[in-house]
Subunit: 231 residues, 4 copies
């Protein structure tokens, strides 16, 4: 398509949607410590339910792979989530007073359903590139948000641990791999004529991520300090 | 499973979710004429985008059919939407001042994405019965809502035409066929042990329909009359 | 990709596989009248079972469509098969002494399973272009075979009616539309880097079509005239 | 459904297809040592290609899972194949003089395509039970074949290592788990009315496995000793 990284191009051309997500009020409030804890707790529970669907998306990427190398690449991602991240998430939730039972029994909210099923359907309807483009805001956005928050968040912020996890070298490297995979797939599968649809997919996914943050804010109820929560 | 119709049982056991959808504030306000027109217009546009995804769900049902008879049954539904309903919808929108261009260019809202992709994913992940259970609130709920509204809505209500369409003998018969199809599939594929999952699917789909109505209300902005719009 | 039609390029680069299919012994024997009738009868029955799966592939193409126009295009194809071709096929079979019951009760042979499920899986794993490339040997090959046979087959050949059907202006136009659709999709979705996989898909599908013909020949048993049946 | 294990019932009711597979000439000839080595070598290469598709089927089972427990169960199976079995297979092939390059470059034969894509399509079209029933002849059949061969095959048979692998406690336990999983899914999802379709699926899969053996025999060419090649 072009010499630029597909992801960089998507981020630049879809800047409005990307910023709506990565610079969401939820993120700013993590930074300055004004995020209500119930908002974060609600987010944590929904993010657990999100991870389950995210694993299904990875499994779908293996089904849709065209080579053993691609399958093994997808399997690494799937193992990372099912064998490691889910347990880490359960422990994080425990620290926030959320029991494993609560995680199991809370139903998905509409915003969780919207983003996860959008990704799965984009993957089923399209090819591997569509699937990974739809997943990219999640995988890469968290790395970017955490890298942005890390230097500014105070050490005793309740959100410090979350930031550290996604700002870690390990996660940043994972995001880098994800960008590289997108570029590899794009070099094979993305014509210039296809780009507008990929951009639309990327923007829709970014906005659905933004509404996922908003869901957390909304859960904390009206905020007398701002008066425009959830607007 | 049991001798009761599967749908009747789902509706009874999932009464809370079903009522949240079929007795939503949006519906009451259609009845008494207090629904703001922008709310209905927003709904109409999103419902058009919904129908496109709904057609994809019908196409999926044909792919998932196990006999020619089932395939032809699905094809009738698909033709009804793509060959007839879509055009009818475009004409209805025109009467409400919504141009075909507006229909094409408006993006799907998160609530539209949530219900439609939920249905498609339920269909891809499960079998034909899962797919039709996830679709049932839409197909049967509209018939029920319209039948309930028809005797109470005034003849000069702007929502009279909408009610008439879904209260028509033709649509009511279609809903009856849908119930019969559910029962036919259930008699083959639904054990008692499977019922809790089907119920969960039905409730989730009903609640996603409720949030689809809410999306319309929210689009009309804060309502000074009630002060609790979108709550 | 290039200025040549994708199909022409695939046919040229995959000439060996394409000829193995379109110039299969089964086809030559239809031309010169030496094809044993049981071979053709076996083919007819399996082709009926093939059409059912082919309809599922068309339904899948509608699910995978990215616009209403594409969906309607797929629907025309699906209606052509389910509403028209299947009945025509049943009547053709009746003339060859094959009852509707025989059509319903005969199981698919491995060769029928191989090509049809290969197409469906290519479609599920890949995108709309993969699906249509995998379908193209069937849709376009029959037009080409019949156009080649038409001037040489005798008027009283038992295979004349079959040739006439696929050599008809209507079917030839359908094949032309199919080529145009491939080119349209390729212009959006096929990079040069993707071409080798598309070629591999095309060749595999063509060879599976060749083995579908061979299945018919094999069904007629050893042929004393040639001594190299199934070679 | 009934108190019998689903698998036992399928095996009993589909005895003809099951025996065509588990008591195929290929198997008898492994036992008595008359299987031509080229037949086994051809089988080994195709079985490698089979395993790749088999991994995709496991990935699909994770996508189609309804709980974390089911997903993790599927992941264990997927890891066993992609992380362990594939490498073991490569080593086995090396001992038989088949290079990794040969494994990569050999195309799938029609019989390999037929069984693997049949399974994947059954899984996509149906639910998790359909997928596992379609996979069961492979997973359980090998255990049964090896357990039958183990006491009768000579220690210096070239096929002894193959038999040992599948007769091992580890593999026999895996087959037992597979039967237990089928029963667990059946208890939730299989009504008596559904049984005939499951039986048909099982029989078709068993016969496609039989044709997979036959493909190996056919690859070795006419056998002067028997005079009934491919019979």
């Amino acid at each position: 398509m072009t010499e630029t990284s597909l992801f960089d191009r998507l981020k630049k051309d879809g800047k409005e949607a990307w910023d709506a997500y990565t610079r969401h009020d939820f993120v700013y409030r993590m930074a300055d410590g004004t995020l209500p804890e119930p908002a974060f707790q609600d987010y944590l529970v929904q993010d657990y339910l999100f991870l389950i669907q995210f694993s299904r998306a990875y499994a779908l990427s293996i089904y849709k792979s065209r080579s053993l190398a691609e399958m093994r690449n997808g399997l690494e991602g799937l193992k990372a989530i099912l064998d490691t991240e889910m347990d880490l998430h359960v422990r994080t939730c425990a620290k926030w007073g959320i029991s494993p039972e609560a995680l199991e029994q809370t139903p998905e909210k509409a915003e969780t359903v919207a983003y996860t099923r959008f990704v799965l359907d984009a993957g089923n309807a399209g090819d591997l590139l569509d699937l990974y483009v739809a997943l990219s805001p999640c995988m890469i956005g968290y790395a970017e948000i955490a890298a942005w928050l890390a230097p500014q968040i105070s050490d005793d912020s309740p959100y410090r641990a979350w930031v550290n996890e996604y700002a870690s070298d390990a996660y940043q490297a994972l995001a880098g791999d994800t960008i590289a995979r997108l570029d590899r797939l794009a070099s094979e599968m993305a014509t210039e004529a296809r780009y507008p649809r990929l951009k639309k997919l990327f923007e829709a996914a970014s906005l659905l991520e933004a509404s996922f943050w908003q869901m957390g804010l909304d859960a904390a109820g009206p905020d007398p300090a701002s008066g425009i929560v959830g607007a």
